[in-house]
């Protein structure tokens, strides 16, 4: 096994809940609660979960876009949180993020060419003369035309803006791209274009992805390993083949069985979960999933299951496995 590109160890990120006149902290939302992920070069790690699972927060803390509460994040062996700001800034081009909302993630007053090229200049990765060529190259790589370079974001559709966002990250030759729900704001036909682009770029540029999504069919299509999060904790991680063929955690099973499949009259066994996702500010005791789990036993409410290795590349946090 090769050395990990990104090593997230026992990461915790708590958000304070403030209330009252004096803005006192009255509690904490454990958005990320003891998560470990190892991502190897060239792979696509899919992080799935429902709203409130903390998957986006993992993505942002993984590249130190927000501060952590506890734990370590090492990029090629360098502890990101130990770096002084200037060093971190120099490292930024290697760690890129692609946003969910292609509208708010582009500055409306900056031309596309400048938005893509400015970081190149800023980091001295290209001279003024070279920038335009580099930008044109990356535009065509992302399926955009050269005449788009002088236009403003508002002249583009959602799908094209997402391509611009990808181009902006790609021009810096990143090693890791965190993609936070990059296709969920797009229409089906445009989704397919962007998913194919992600895949092609991985082949041509040897990229590594942390791909965050709530859409399991997209994750299955794109990812080599998958982690399933529930209320800030990791329920299960496994290779794609294992996870989709034989999910071990009851939550993964329920999640997979809930995905609507575009084949009419398909008979399948469905595990319909009871109730709603609990409030992340006040998660259930023991195993956080026990309130909705169809297989829960007394122990699940009392004792938090350990996230343990169960052979191969599989890790599961469940008492019953």
């Amino acid at each position: 096994m090769s050395e990990p590109l990104l090593d997230i160890r026992r990461l915790k990120k708590y958000f304070p809940i403030k209330s009252g006149l004096l803005n006192r902290t009255v509690g904490q939302v454990k958005a990320v609660d003891d998560i470990s992920i190892t991502i190897r070069p060239g792979e696509t790690f899919g992080l799935v979960g429902e709203s409130g699972s903390g998957k986006s927060t993992v993505g942002r803390t993984a590249i130190r876009l927000t501060d952590k509460t506890e734990g370590e994040v090492a990029f090629k062996g360098v502890d990101l949180y130990a770096l002084p700001p200037q060093e971190l800034r120099k490292l930024r081009p290697k760690l890129q993020l692609i946003f969910q909302d292609p509208y708010s993630s582009l500055n409306p007053r900056v031309r596309v060419g400048d938005a893509i090229g400015e970081a190149l200049l800023e980091h001295g990765l290209a001279s003024k003369d070279e920038v335009r060529d580099r930008v044109l190259d990356v535009l065509s790589l992302c399926g955009l035309s050269s005449y788009h370079i002088d236009r403003f974001p508002h002249e583009f559709s959602g799908g094209q803006r997402q391509r611009i966002g990808i181009a902006r990250a790609l021009v810096l030759n990143p090693e890791l791209i965190v993609a936070d729900e990059p296709v969920s704001a797009l229409d089906v036909s445009i989704q397919a274009q962007i998913i194919n682009l992600f895949r092609r770029l991985q082949e041509t540029n040897g990229l590594t992805y942390l791909f965050i999504s709530h859409d399991l069919s997209v994750v299955e299509h794109l990812c080599s390993r998958v982690g399933v999060m529930y209320l800030g904790s990791m329920a299960e991680t496994a290779s794609r083949d294992d996870l989709f063929r034989e999910p071990l955690h009851p939550y993964t099973k329920a999640l997979l069985s809930a995905v609507p499949i575009p084949i009419p009259k398909l008979k399948r066994e469905r595990i319909v979960l009871k109730g709603d996702i609990p409030n992340p500010a006040n998660p259930p005791s023991g195993c956080k999933f026990h309130t909705r789990c169809p297989f829960a036993v007394a122990r699940c409410a009392e004792e938090r299951p350990e996230f343990r290795h169960v052979g191969g590349e599989r890790y599961v946090a469940c008492h019953l496995v």
Binding site: D187, H214, I277
Partner: protein
Amino acid sequence: MRDLLTIENLRTHFFAPEGTIKAVDGVSLRVREGETVCIVGESGCGKSITALSVMGLAAGSSGKVVGGRIEFDGRNLLELDKNELRTLRGHEIAMIFQEPMSSLNPVLPVGEQIMEPLIEHLKLGKKAARARAIELIAQVGIARPEQIANAYPHELSGGMLQRIMIAAAISCSPKLLIADEPTTALDVTIQAQILDMLRRFKAESNMSILLITHDLGVVAEMADYVVVMYAGKVVEEGEVTELFSHPKHPYTKGLLRSKPILNHRQDELYAIPGQVPNPLELTVSCYFHDRCGQCMDVCRSREPRLREAGERHRVACWLYEEAVAYV
């Protein structure tokens, strides 16, 4: 089965400073009693505007129904006056929306919002209405209905609110439920619960459902009959199994192939090239022609009509024009 809702040649246009947007342009469809019809399409195709037109909600500051007929249970909805329409809405036709949070009044307890149509349409007394509201909340699968009835919208999750919306919608046993992307804002596990529930209510009360969605998975699970829209027009329609197994229009085919399916792996997804045309710049043509792999000369200059292409299966595409001529 009897036709409950018949839409004929509906045209709803929006008037922007830049020009006229033909959001719905000559759409016809039928919903029969006890049937679930899905309108599927991408954003901007006019599927939501079609539904809003039925409710009489599309006409606003800039929008107007400029032509067509909407016949519901023997009455032309476009000719009803405001009062008649009001007694129909929420009573015989109910609607639920994508964002339950914004369709509920934030300063009223949810129980009272379910009681409103009961008092208004069924003329129930306050006490009876409250008892019925609590019953309905229990029916949509919410535990502790008495307490939840007193809760305000902001105290409940999105999934709970959508259930409340459904409870309010089915409170007067409507003949038709229009659901505009009812599960798009919800998580998959919650979506599964809501869809299950809608199916159950439909089976119990012989209610018809007009479901608007962009998700082909939801369509496959829910629909009896499917209408595919593109740029304000119906491009194909048919029974769900027929349409999914033998799609005819290149757009429908493309849509079906471009979505990754769980446990059906493929190396490269099929992607429809290009994007939806600018609604202000449409010319007489098949609106899909510039994205179509089988585009012919005629597609660029003439608009194809919806034609029979099999048992309860219609398509608007020049590729099938000759074949139809022989039938």
